[in-house]
Symmetry: C2
Subunit: 433 residues, 2 copies
């Protein structure tokens, strides 16, 4: 029996693109690759901005300058889109899908904003749209949600899906760094951009929350806003308080069922108990923690970025697309549950950590406690540390609505005895054993 060939077009030759070409060209992997794809994989073109600049490890004859033309070429069976951003990537992907080619992409922004419509285009044209590398880099979480956990009801997903913020928070925890120091260190090491907004203000994590929610719960992908809080307000005193209380602070993305048809999708920093598996996710690692109704807790951990880890995720998708192509089939797109209604993050209850700097004067604590009481926020524990004329009050509340915490903070800000109010950070309950 002759082994069939599947022809690949690759758009982008950055870290991931170069690593992918290297993996596909590695002779020692050929047998495994052909087995995995049930086909020989041939790269027929690599689209780059400047095709005349040589790229180490890529045959110069493969380099082309026109990505749209590559997407449209009839001899490209699988298009691999590694350029990122919405346009022109959306056009390239749609062009390939409309002529029945499958697409593998690592593009989280594109999937978060246009995933549902592109999945529909793929399905109508008998093609696959695969995007394992768009969330949590090298961790094969998307295939697990689509295959192994098909038929399982997932109640909550908690992801550490942004390596930059996890690195910053890890440095603040293990090295006692300030936020600004840790951010500069992340920038110096190439873990953070010169403008870190997308990471530290959780735009990146929010896009990944969109994609995870579509697969874990069945929500549409068209850029509906996610309640979004980043880490720029987290201070070293918060990290230190968390440590003493048995927690670490992590930026998490959450997808959670609320009641029968409610859904909360949000990102925020959180205090995680030190014995929770998510607390062991250090540095630039990513992890996705899932609570299934019958499977119980499940967690995946791995590298969330980097050329090679991301390329292995892309490669897994390429093999899957090739296998489907050879057998003349394609995956069914994720189903969308249109009954789901977004629940406002303000309506959700949690234990909160709050810290407030006040003048160390008689009656101040009673005044502060009065404000908590008026907003029905009851206090679980309080720690007071004095410094000169000032005192810092650190609170853990009992379960309270985020809305009530926000109005408590608003009123505290009006008190003459309150100098400043620090971060308010949710506490994630429970370990796993």
């Amino acid at each position: 029996m002759k082994t069939p060939h599947v022809r690949l077009g690759v758009i982008g030759a950055g870290n991931v693109g170069r690593a992918l070409v290297e993996l596909l060209s590695d002779g020692s992997r050929q047998i495994a690759l052909v087995d995995g794809a049930t086909a020989v994989l041939d790269i027929v073109g690599v689209a780059v901005r400047d095709p005349d600049t040589p790229r180490a490890g890529i045959d110069p004859a493969l380099l082309v300058g026109d990505a749209l033309a590559l997407a449209a070429r009839e001899d490209v069976d699988v298009l691999v889109e590694l350029a990122g951003g919405v346009e022109p990537a959306r056009t390239w992907v749609e062009t390939a899908l409309r002529r029945g080619a499958s697409v593998v992409t690592a593009n989280k922004t594109l999937m978060a904003e246009h995933g549902t419509e592109l999945a529909q285009v793929a399905h109508e044209h008998g093609a696959d749209l695969l995007y394992e590398a768009s969330v949590a880099g090298g961790i094969p979480i998307i295939r697990a949600l689509r295959t192994s956990l098909a038929g399982e009801k997932i109640n909550r997903v908690i992801g550490i899906v942004n390596g930059t913020t996890n690195f910053i928070l890890s440095q603040m925890t293990s090295e006692g760094r300030d936020y600004d120091e840790a951010l500069k260190e992340a920038q110096a090491l190439g873990f953070a951009e010169a403008d870190p907004t997308a990471d530290v203000e959780a735009f990146d994590a929010a896009a990944k929350v969109q994609i995870l929610s579509s697969l874990a719960i069945g929500t549409a992908l068209h850029g509906e806003p996610i309640s979004r809080e980043g880490i720029s307000a987290v201070r070293s005193v918060d990290v230190e308080f968390a440590r003493r209380a048995g927690y670490v602070i992590k930026l998490i993305g959450v997808v959670e069922r609320v009641g029968a048809n409610g859904l909360s999708r949000r990102t925020h920093p959180a205090l995680i108990p030190v014995d929770h598996p998510l607390a062991a996710v250090h540095g630039a690692m990513n992890a996705v923690f899932i609570e299934g109704e019958r499977s119980g807790p499940l967690m995946w951990l791995g590298q969330g970025a980097g050329g090679y880890p991301t390329a292995t995720a892309v490669l897994g998708d390429v093999l899957h697309a090739a296998r489907n192509r050879v057998s003349g089939r394609h995956d069914v797109p994720f189903s969308v549950d249109y009954r789901l209604v977004s629940v406002d993050a303000g309506d959700l209850s949690s234990v909160f950590y709050l810290s407030i700097d006040v003048r160390d004067e008689p009656g101040v604590l009673a005044e502060v406690a009065g404000v908590f009481g008026r907003h029905r926020v009851s206090i679980q524990s309080m720690e007071q540390s004095g410094f000169g004329q000032e005192a810092r009050l650190s609170f853990l509340t009992h379960e309270a609505k985020a809305r009530d915490i926000a109005s408590t903070i608003g009123d505290l800000g009006q008190l003459a005895s309150v100098d400043s109010i620090g971060a308010s950070i949710r506490v994630i309950d429970g370990g796993v054993a």
Copy 2:
């Protein structure tokens, strides 16, 4: 288009079998199940020892007494084998495969001893043999190895794949229990059998190491022995020393490439650094940690046993088998790399922890150190704690061959000044960040 039907026969109605029937009969999951399988799933028979005893949640009309007859029935498209043990399970599975029905099994012993030959039978008859639930219960590790990581070169797998021993060691760590106390507690809670040998002496873990090695590296499955050490020699003093030195003790199963064609497969207790993700695997949880050449470190964590978690893994396989059946295809069996040669565990180097009780007399330490030196084992650190006429010496060595550690212990046992020698436990190096 009419939705096709796929007919299931289930052998066994214990915890897993009953949970599976419940999941398949749950109306709220029907849409997801039909989507996942691209078919309606009908249970046509459930084989049990005594079909006249009613089972809660199972239609009495489905109960049959003859498992072999169920496996042979022409109207069973997918046989689910949940009975366990080698025979008669092997005969039932082979009977179904030989008539082209697919088989889903949770049977680790059967797969470890006959997996390669049964996979070949399945392939020859165009059927699937799926066994996600045979390793690490509800964790979808097998599908990840077969799909997402196809084409990746995996250098090392470390699994915490036995919940009983992990529970015992967790209780020794967190509650300061003795081994015997913790074992009794595990037995009282139903985590350990009355005869705990299969768990504590790592026979169970060794079977799972066989299966993981076949998928991660490509070894045959026919019961080749695994180097096997259990946890019955681990004492609370060892756990306490590990804690002071920044480690926790876990029973691990290891599959590791050694050089170009060497392979080590073994189980033993190990000291794991507290900041390693495997250290966060508490109680009866399971985890599999993988080091891929390009993917970097990856870890899966979840419930290793229990009716519902295991049933979700079985269900994922049932959906996959049904989907393949509807599209008239089957998975390619894992490929076997016959060049691989087993490396003796004695030839492998590691840092070791050793503890020795000696008479507290002048010259004893020099005598002990002399024995280490004669076997080329050099000492990284030593802690001495005295009690009365005795002293306990706790050592961490530099990297040393297991064979040299064994002969060191042999010679130490000959010294008149040495009263007893405790566990020798390997140290796993490095955290993950």
